[in-house]
């Protein structure tokens, strides 16, 4: 059984491994649309999978966050990826299954997953 007391151990462990992030390093940002439209279309599992995948790979300098309605509700769940110095990439009709590929190919290796982008899907 998990207990609140275990949080003490987590705290001690985290303190010893916590690294101070240089505020000047620019983050790669993954932003998931979480308004009514996004949530109804399945944004919650997509957001959770991004959080899990980033944690699993222990990626540093990557942030996962949420935003409101992006304005193209018919393409939800929508995910925007911002990499400093590059153009924003918009992924549409995302599912949790597509997350690992986006993280691996785009976030880690810098290759946009063209087939999931709005350019490939919106006709």
């Amino acid at each position: 059984m998990k207990s609140l007391a275990e949080l003490n151990a987590i705290r001690e462990k985290a303190k010893s491994t916590m690294t101070v992030r240089d505020d000047n390093t620019e983050l790669k940002r993954i932003v998931v649309g979480m308004a009514t439209c996004g949530i109804a279309a399945g944004a919650r599992p997509v957001l959770n999978e991004f959080v899990n995948e980033v944690a699993r790979r222990k990626l540093d300098g990557v942030s996962v966050s949420q935003t409101g309605c992006i304005g193209m509700c018919q393409y939800e769940p929508i995910v925007e990826v911002f990499i400093p110095g590059e153009e924003k990439v918009t992924y549409v009709k995302m599912t949790a299954d597509k997350v690992a590929k986006v993280v691996n190919d785009h976030i880690v290796n810098g290759n946009v997953v063209e087939e999931y982008t709005i350019g490939a899907i919106a006709k």
Partner: protein
């Protein structure tokens, strides 16, 4: 919405936008009576009487990007289609309280779904806010309060992977106990 827990996530997002520092989510299920209460209470900026009166109208929204706001109307519909009820009380500068009742035996009752995922998404995406989640089934209770967690964790943030994993496991175990 396919799950009531998605409605809850959606309504709680309104509380976040309203600048609430504390958001309380309460689920109370009476299995004998077939009644489920879902309450979402916040201390955000609140709404005027006029705004509160028009909040259930899908064509009312304070958003400027579009002319429709579906969150509250969808939640109200989910409650009323089971023969349940929907109430909203709000006061400018004090906050907003949404209280709904569902008849769980109704054929039109939307399943609660993955409430753990909703609560943990809210907590980890908004570490600057506090959440209190209470789940009561037939008198047994489980509560998760981020103020309590923060007190133990000090400056270790709630979105630290180890903490998220702990919250998931803890939530799973505690809700299983309730459902026994």
């Amino acid at each position: 919405m396919r799950e009531l827990s998605l409605n809850i996530l959606d309504i709680a997002q309104n509380s976040i936008s309203a600048g609430a520092s504390l958001i309380e989510i309460e689920l109370v299920e009476d299995r004998t009576a077939g009644d489920l209460l879902i309450g979402i209470y916040d201390n955000g900026k609140g709404m005027s009487e006029e705004q509160t009166a028009s909040i259930t109208d899908p064509f009312f929204t304070t958003r400027t990007t579009r002319k429709v706001g579906m969150g509250i109307p969808l939640f109200k519909m989910a409650a009323e289609q089971t023969g349940g009820s929907f109430e909203i009380y709000s006061k400018l500068g004090e906050g907003t309280r949404v209280t709904t009742h569902f008849n769980t035996g109704s054929i039109d009752f939307t399943p609660l779904g993955d409430i753990r995922s909703t609560v943990i998404t809210l907590i980890t995406m908004n570490t600057d806010r506090d959440f209190r989640f209470t789940y009561r089934i037939d008198g047994k209770e489980f509560a998760l309060d981020t103020r309590e967690l923060k007190e133990i964790l000090g400056d270790v943030p709630l979105d630290t992977p180890d903490v998220v994993e702990w919250m998931n496991e803890y939530f799973k175990e505690q809700t299983e106990l309730l459902l026994q």
